[in-house]
Every structure is written in C-alpha cells, then in structure tokens.
Symmetry: C3
Subunit: 266 residues, 3 copies
Amino acid sequence: MFEARLIQGSVLKKMIDAIKDIVTDINLDCSSTGISVQAMDSGHVCLVLIELGSDGFEPYRCDRNITLGLGLKALSVVVRCANNDDSITIKAQEGTDNINFVFESPNGEKTSQFEIKLMDIDSEHLGIPDTEYDSVVKMPSHEFQRICRDMSQLGDSIVVACTKDGIQFSASGDMGSGKINLRQSSLVDKEEDQINIELNDPVHLTFALRYLNYFTKATPLSPTVTLSLKAESPLCVTYPIGDFGSMKFFLAPKIDDEDTAAATQE
Amino acid sequence: MFEARLIQGSVLKKMIDAIKDIVTDINLDCSSTGISVQAMDSGHVCLVLIELGSDGFEPYRCDRNITLGLGLKALSVVVRCANNDDSITIKAQEGTDNINFVFESPNGEKTSQFEIKLMDIDSEHLGIPDTEYDSVVKMPSHEFQRICRDMSQLGDSIVVACTKDGIQFSASGDMGSGKINLRQSSLVDKEEDQINIELNDPVHLTFALRYLNYFTKATPLSPTVTLSLKAESPLCVTYPIGDFGSMKFFLAPKIDDEDTAAATQE
Amino acid sequence: MFEARLIQGSVLKKMIDAIKDIVTDINLDCSSTGISVQAMDSGHVCLVLIELGSDGFEPYRCDRNITLGLGLKALSVVVRCANNDDSITIKAQEGTDNINFVFESPNGEKTSQFEIKLMDIDSEHLGIPDTEYDSVVKMPSHEFQRICRDMSQLGDSIVVACTKDGIQFSASGDMGSGKINLRQSSLVDKEEDQINIELNDPVHLTFALRYLNYFTKATPLSPTVTLSLKAESPLCVTYPIGDFGSMKFFLAPKIDDEDTAAATQE
C-alpha cells in the first residue's frame, strides 16, 4: 500500500506542468523516505530529477519500495481537474495496475477521485555524481525565465559567463546581439529578489536555449532558481519545492565554436 | 410599436454570448408580459428557452404581439458594440423590416444606434410540459462549468447521479476515469456558494458533455445554476437572469449502455 | 557621437509596438533639437510622423546631424527585452554601422546591451503643410480605439461627421448599420475623459477602417487622441508622447461615393 497526501495540491499541478513538454512518461520511485523521479527528454539531451521528501506529505505511507509508471498526458489531464486549494492524495495498492488521485476541497464539500492505468516504463537510472561547481548563482526565477525568453529571440544559444562581478548572459544572430549583466545584490533587497553568486572559478559556457526555455516552465514552483555551473560539465538548474523537495534539470554545454565565441566578445 | 429598455445592457450581451454558438437564428416573441425565445440547436438535440418579464425593462411597451426574427451573427456583432454599463433599448416599428438597438452611456455623452434587418425564421413552438423532477440541484455556476470542462477531458459523456448524500459526476475514457462528488452544503456558506439538493427520487442519467459545455457559456449570467433531473426525461439547466427572467437549456439523456454503466461502477 | 537616454524606456516600447505592423524600416533623423521619424506604410497610403524633443532625454547629445536606419523587426525584438521600468539609452558612433541600446534597471543590478546593424533606407521626405483644420476633436484614446474596432465589424469604411453638437462615426455593411454619437463634454469630467470639439466648419469624411485600426495601436502611448479633420484633406490622428513629443498618423479620405453616402443617411 502506497499513500501520500499533499496538502497544497497546487504544487503537484505545477510540477506536472513543468515537465509535461519535455518527457512523455515518468516512473515515480516511492520509498519510505519519499518520492523521486528521474527522466530524460525524448532526445536524451537533458535530464530531470525530482526529489520529494516524505515529510512534505501528511500522511505518508509506503509499506515497501514501489515504482509507479505514469503517462504524462493522462497525469496532466487529471491534475488539472484539481482546484488550486485542494489537497491531493496519491494512492496505489500493490497487485493492481491502477493509481488513484483523490482531490479534497478545504471545506470538504467537493471530493474527486481519478484513476489512471499504470504503465511499464523502461528506464535506466543514471548515477548523478556529486559535483563541486565552479560557480553557483541564485537569482529570481522569473528573471531567469525572462532572460532565456528574450535571448531566444536573438539566437539559438546562450553564453553564460560568471565572474566575481556578476553573471552575464549573451546571444547573437542575424538580427543583432545582446548581453545581459546581473550584479551581485547588495544586502538591502528582499531575499527572493536577490542575486547571489558563489564563485570558486569563473566559468564561460554555452547552452541551447531551447532546453533552458523548457526548464523555466518550472518557474511557478519557486520564486528563486539556482544555476550551478562548472567548466565542461552539465549545468544544473534547481527549483526548490517548499522545504521538502526540489526539481533539477541537467543540460550539457555546447562545445564552444568560433561562432559563439565571436558573438560574446565585448 | 415595440420598445424595451434594459438598464443593464450587459445582461443582453451575456445572453447573446451564451447562445451564439448553439443557435444561428432566433425569434423574439414579444407580448405585453415580456419577451420569450425558444430555439433549438442546428442538430435538433437541445432546446434553449429564454423568458424575460416586462418588469425587467423600463420603459416596456408592446402595443400588440410581435415576433422579431434575428440572425445571431449580426446580433452578436451589434451587442458587442455596447459598453458594459450602457443601457440598451430595443425598438421595432410595425410594418418595417428593421430592428433598432440604442446604447446610451450612463453620463449621456455617448449614444449609439444600430439597425439590423429582421428575418423570417421558421420555428415550431414546442410545448414544454410542466415536469415534476426527481432531483433538483442548485450549485455555483462556475463549479458546474468547471466540472463539465474537466470531465470532457476524460470522455464524451458524463454520468450524473443524485442521491440524498450529494451529487456525483463521472466520466471515463482511454486515459482513465474520474468521479466528482459534491455534498449538500451546511448552512454556514454564502448563499451563492451553496450546494442545495431537493430529492424526491435518486437519479442516474448520462448526458453528452459537448452540449453541457455549450450550456455553461451562460455562466456569466448568474452565480448559481439549477440542474433539474428526472429518469428518462430531459435535463433542464436553468440560469436565472436577475429577478425578472431565466435562460433554460434542455437536453435528453443518452440511453445508458453497458459501456457507460461500467464506467460508473465504484 | 549620438547618445540619448530615455528614463521611461516603456515609452520607446510603446512607440515601436504602435508602428511595427505598418512600417518595416524607419530612419531616425537625429539633430541637436531631437529625433524625428517619417515613414509610410508599404502601400504608400498612410504616413507616420514621430517627433521627440531633446528635452525628453537626459542626457541628450548629438554632435552633428545623423540619420540612423533601422529594421522594425530587429528593433521590436530588442526593445521587448527591456523591462517597463528600465531606462533606455540609444548610442551610435559615427563611422560605425551599428546602433546600441542599453537598458538599466532602476536599482542598477541589471544592465543589458543590444547591438543591431544599421541599414541604408531610401526615403523621400514629404513636406507636411501646416493645415488649418475645419474640426479638431480631442477624445479619450481608448474610446477612439473601441469605436474603430466596433465599426470595422460592420463595414470597411467609417464616416466621420463633425458638427457643433458632437462627432458621429458611422458604418454599414451586409449585416446592418451603426452610428455612434459623442457629445461635447460638460466641464465636470476628468480632463482625459473629456470630449472636446473645436469647430470652424462641419466636416463629413470617409476613411478606410483598416488603417485607423493600425493607428489605434498607439493607444497605450497616451490617454487622449486628437483627430484633426478638413474637407478633402488627410485626417491627422495625434497621440501626444509625454510633454516632449508626439506620434501623428495621416490618412487621406476616401472619395464619397453613392454607397457610403447612402449608408450615413439618418
């Protein structure tokens, strides 16, 4: 028997919205400590990792480890039927091939129950090595979303360069070129508006904007986002989920070629 | 001479919006007691009935019974030209083949006058028998709209089941199945948020969601909607219009077949 | 060296939005007194004239007269990257073929720099004669936008008739006909809601709604718009830009033919 109740069901809605355009199926790996999801996009270019601790659910019951395979399309249809202030309970019985979602309104007058078929989904679990990043940048998530959207008007790639002074995003194409600079915040700002840079080493990396624009669909999940960067290593974009989980996206950098290098000369 | 002035012109805009996707032409049957409209959708599946008492208009003048045939497309274009706080006056002279709409802004600075051609529209008046319904459910109109929209993601049909405990809406399809339960409200709620069930006999009926989704376009007309249900009889969905009228939609149930019966088993 | 900084960058965004659907390229004619733009739509039917005085910029520096040719598509992409509360600085060095746009956030933490290529754009400067208009009507810009949009549902042309009592807009087509009358405001209204008519001579002119609907894309620039009308002369539609500039659109009237004359008979 697996049962997990999320008081703020809207969090689940936002999670599904964030990934439904990248992945088609997911495995929910449920254990006594919580739920985790690892999935790659269909082109095997980027990786999504969701971790939800059991303490984010009330109640949380997982009698033994269970993997629940779900199609994102059906899941997306179902969670959209929840109101934003509903609680959502996920239920699965061992030996059945269905999963149940129960939505309850705060006043208890509306209760909805949805059932979808479980699927057998092939998946190889990638070991994600602990990485010591060169630069870790925490910034407002809507600002990162805006920058990715704006830069993709200019070109397909974005160059992210981090120094002790700040972080620079740049792109170029037929129409022209653009550079956006964010300075480390002074201390007076609201915490979630702050730009905070932890720098071990400067980095200068190029990424495909197409995927970053997918990642930023997670923006409603959190007011802040963290970019973890390291030379010749995948970027990790982290959206915290409350204080009990996170959604992470990994994307390998493009090999810097002459074109993109030229575009970022000042 | 026919002349009727609606202080809140926005009510007329909402009425036209509610029916313009179902019916193409309507006859306004005007008499000394008010205006009524009876129209069927082009597939002759559902019926719309609008009743507006003369006391909702100021002034209201109808020298003798007159039927005004109107194309919904032109009518929709014209009423969209009214501002929401304009009054709307409908005017028709006997012997002419035009109808006039006059919009006046509250401060009197803007006056608009539109004229459209009257049409000869064939229509058979259906006698709608007084029905003693098995179950009458009053609920928030936006809740009913939401349920119809959500359920149509799952399947083409919705099963409505009413018992003394509440009302259940269910649907199923390839992706999965869903059931939404609404309990009778306790007394503490705001009246327009309440769910109120008058039950003579439990009912269990199946309807085509396509039409219910048309009906719920009347949601802006009223905060509440009433579903009147009776075994083997058409559903009546009623939206009150102020305290002087109503818009009713009638839809015959689908014949319960094995498929839909199976889908609603608990 | 040319450099001009607009504190309220959103004004530039609104200007570009207003004209990007009519013209494809513009020349910015910069001199010590300010910036002016003259452009015709691709069909050479209507003319746009933008005048921005140097006192609207801080700083403003124009060492010698310079003409900067810009493609609207690239310009539109670039200015959309500015936040509404950013300042925008336009910079061009003599001898280079690039123009730079610098956006700065109010707190100084975000700075963006965009570069687009200058273009050589053929343009003949039309002398616009000083005209003494027969009727000059100042009205809320959103009201004019609404009227043009509503009337274009009825027909392709709008008849504008101005008398001492007010201004009348009318249109007609297959579906019917409509007339909208605005009376001169009494003195009690807010100034920007007022309708003010200066009348030397009554006018009665017909215009293509297609172009008026283009012009009203400038509505966000100003709460008021001024229509300057004269028999057999182009209409001038003026949107003030702060207290330092304006955007004007000119459109020649249609020759009144029997059809449109008939449509406006009362």
